[in-house]
């Protein structure tokens, strides 16, 4: 019976933690500023990415890998203009890394609301993101600053 009590206590603490977590689970959208992460994104991340030109190169590489990935390229072909997505992503990625750049596109949830994106498809883009870092010779540890900044968008992009 004592073990049952311990399990109940563990379950109760888990539920409490879950309840405390609720407000943080709201949909994530670009807020017009650097993404808040724990721990924070390193202050020289944008510089190490090569500034605007470096980020632009990375986004070009990202879309190169996305458009070659038969799991996800159809979504990008059917919904929207790739050149425009490259321009908007260059803004967004600079902004979340702490650059003084305003993202002019739609919110993440609005832009993806009707697409029925799965987590499997989202992860395919994450894989493309890592491939893109390797393509433009951005070190893995620098790449992870951007991964940290973009990861919370999963909550507004994945709807299935």
């Amino acid at each position: 019976m004592k073990s049952l009590k311990v399990i109940t206590q563990i379950a109760a603490s888990a539920m409490l933690l879950f309840a405390a977590a609720q407000p943080a689970l709201a949909a994530q959208d670009p807020t017009g500023s650097k993404q808040t992460t724990y721990p924070g994104i390193s202050s020289d991340a944008l510089e190490k990415f090569g500034g605007e030109a470096g980020v632009h190169n990375w986004v070009e590489a990202l879309f190169y890998y996305i458009m070659l990935d038969n799991r996800i390229n159809k979504i990008f072909i059917e919904h929207g203009n790739v050149a425009r997505q490259i321009a908007l992503n260059t803004q967004l990625e600079q902004m979340v890394l702490g650059g003084a750049v305003q993202y002019e596109g739609a919110s993440m949830s609005a832009a993806h609301a009707d697409l029925g994106i799965t987590l499997t498809q989202f992860n395919a883009v994450v894989e493309a993101a890592y491939n893109a870092c390797e393509r433009v010779n951005t070190p893995y540890s620098v790449c992870n600053q951007l991964i940290a900044a973009l990861a919370p968008f999963e909550r507004s992009i994945v709807t299935r």
Binding site: A24, T118, Y140, I147, P152
Partner: protein
Amino acid sequence: MKGLIGVNRYLPSCAALLALSAALFSAGAWADLYNDGKVLATGGVSMTDGAGGGGITPWATITGYGTRDGINGDVHYTYVNLPNYALNSIGGAVGLWDRVELSYTNDVLTTGSTFNTVGLLTDTLGLPTGIAPWNTTIKMDVFGAKVRVFGEAIYDSDNLIPQVAVGGFYKINHNRALLKTLQASKSKDWEAYIAATKIFFPINTLVNVTLRYTAANETGLTGFGGPKGNKREIRPEVSLAYLLNKGTAIGVEYQKHGGNLEGQSVDLNGVVVPGDLLGSLTQHESDWYDAFIAFFPSKNLSITMAYAMLGNITLTPNQSGYYISLQASF
């Protein structure tokens, strides 16, 4: 004849399995169920009890590469070579919709020369101690289940809430006579755990903390409970992994062990031998540590190499040695 009877016993379950697979394939359902959509390395590896995690600690991650969109599984083989022991662990696990994990593993521990002094004596006297001189082996079946409760280890980098899972193992140790000799209370027992895992991308680091509620001696390989304690207790375990690149991680682990058999000697068919009578016959158990490197060349294969520092195990001190684990995912 015995072999035939054995085969017959398994036939119904084989037929059921075949029928199930046929149903899955014919409906084309398997294509919809199968999923390998997790990012490389994020399924973790297989720990020695068979669950998804690090080398010795179960994590809150669900094993395999299945996301919430489907199922995925893996098989593993782990070999640990210590001065007095060798552990062979072989098993399989399945992850269901990144929510539930079911696992089975079979641990076979050969004990080298550890029990030879006791074995030779008791063999001469004809005592049933579970010790065969030169060839004492401990076999254990481990059944595991894990449920992911809440939290995102990977995506929620904007909060500190870890991914949390609860799980349990049911372990059946088959060398009951040896466990009796070592004075363990039980040969079968369950353990429960709660695990919290979080990846901190800005510092390329994964942190896992697990609390295991258990009465195990050497994870159950030398049974459960003993003269110094029979009750389950909460023992912490920690894994730290640093991600070197998208397919390589290095790290360290710690696992708290108990002292149920601490300072005890051996019980030879009812006679407890004074610990110093036949040289060193006193048992000790140390906490476990390991340092590892894990390679993920593809989503179908991981290779983990480690140096395990397990300290005192039963009668023998300084049990440190190499660990290698292969995991194939499908």
